[in-house]
């Protein structure tokens, strides 16, 4: 479980890249790549190891104003936990 105070960062092997062909973001890692939907791209762009999950949610709130904060926080945590299981996001501590 990632705590809301955790500071997620991309794993060392993963790199975000803007994709001209689709206008979205790709997450690249050895031999693989993930085509990210706009929300996933926005979340991962904010995973800099400095911001907490709460700070990321607050930032996203500006773009997803229609979504209540608790729901948005739940979505973000679920996504980050999946990425952590895949070894693509790390949350130190």
């Amino acid at each position: 479980m990632i705590p809301p105070s955790g500071k997620p960062a991309l794993a060392g092997k993963a790199r975000l890249r803007f994709d001209r062909a689709t206008g979205g973001y790709l997450l690249l890692y050895p031999e693989r790549g993930l085509q990210l939907n706009p929300t996933a791209g926005s979340i991962l762009k904010l995973c800099d190891g400095q911001r907490t999950v709460d700070a990321i949610v607050a930032e996203l709130q500006k773009d997803y104003a229609g979504r209540p904060a608790p729901e948005l926080q739940k979505d973000v945590l679920e996504f980050l936990e999946e990425m952590e299981r895949r070894g693509l996001v790390q949350v130190p501590g």
């Binding site: 092997k13 890249r17 790709l26 690249l28 890692y29 050895p30 790549g33 299981r85 895949r86």
Partner: protein, 366 residues
Amino acid sequence: MSTAPRPYTLVAELTYACPLHCVYCSNPVDFARRHDGLDTGDWRRVLREAEELGVVQVNFTGGEPLLRADLEALVEEARRLELYSNLITSGIPLERGRLERLRRLGLDNVQVSIQDSRPVESDRIAGREAFGQKLRAARWVKELGFPLTMNTVLHRENLARIGEVIALAEELRADRLELANAQYLGWALVNRGALLPRGEELERARSIAAAARQRLQGRMEVVFVVPDYHVEFPPACMDGWGRRFMIVSPEGLLLPCLLAHTLPGLSFGNVREQSVADLWTSSPGLAAFRGEGWMPEPCRSCERRTVDFGGCRCQAFHLTGDAAATDPACSLSRDHAKIEAARAQAAQPLVEFRYRTARADGAPAR
């Protein structure tokens, strides 16, 4: 003609030269007749043109890519193009200083091949003393902050030591472990009698790998690749012919897979003469097995045709003489008995290796 799909990965085979003599090398058996045809400028252009076409990853491989003095320049160009770059190496000849330089220039990942968990057994496969240097190279990779992929090709001789191989990968702190059973093409086909494992050996290894994948989740990605000879249906070779992978051979041929240029009757253009985009969209060799139009029965009416794309063309040719046949690895192929016969031979006592070498007798150079 159908429009070409978007390629995502460029496999840049910088040279077929290699200090090792691995008995299952995936280079063509006649590699010694094929010479490096591309200079630094050519390769830079290939990287640029591939990126324009949609490629986002590049694997620098060979042979041994470290033998190219211009590897640094190519890594730098890949970084400039924001390509995710992966160096696929034997770890020989590598010095820490060079690896450090590659790190600074923006190389993203290093894959080191380790043939076995034990020195004597590993060197026996490589045909020379290499194990100690490989471990040193793998440690440098992690010390310098790179992600490390460890690749071990599995076969009858080392399959029983898969637990030790996994332990070695953990000790080296690998981020990804590829436990890839040999695929019986190139040199591995020459040595199939000595390498192909029995089904029960494979099953045991598969369950050990599955347990490790579970245990190491989030820390180390564990990939286990089954040999085509032990499946009911073939995998999607290269994810489909000319679909997501583009290979540029040391000579400059633009290929859909590592061995497509060993198939007779197909012509693949050279990047020295045509642009990557032209070749990708309209080389006759790439068009030959794209889509479904070429498929024979039982593929043509099979619901798996969009999953496995008819399997491996090279395997079809080398086992049946017809590159357009259904992959004999498929249990529905009329040539599947050839696979079953090879499997039956896996019960035979050990057969001698022929090492990858330019020499006709297959003896390792010492």
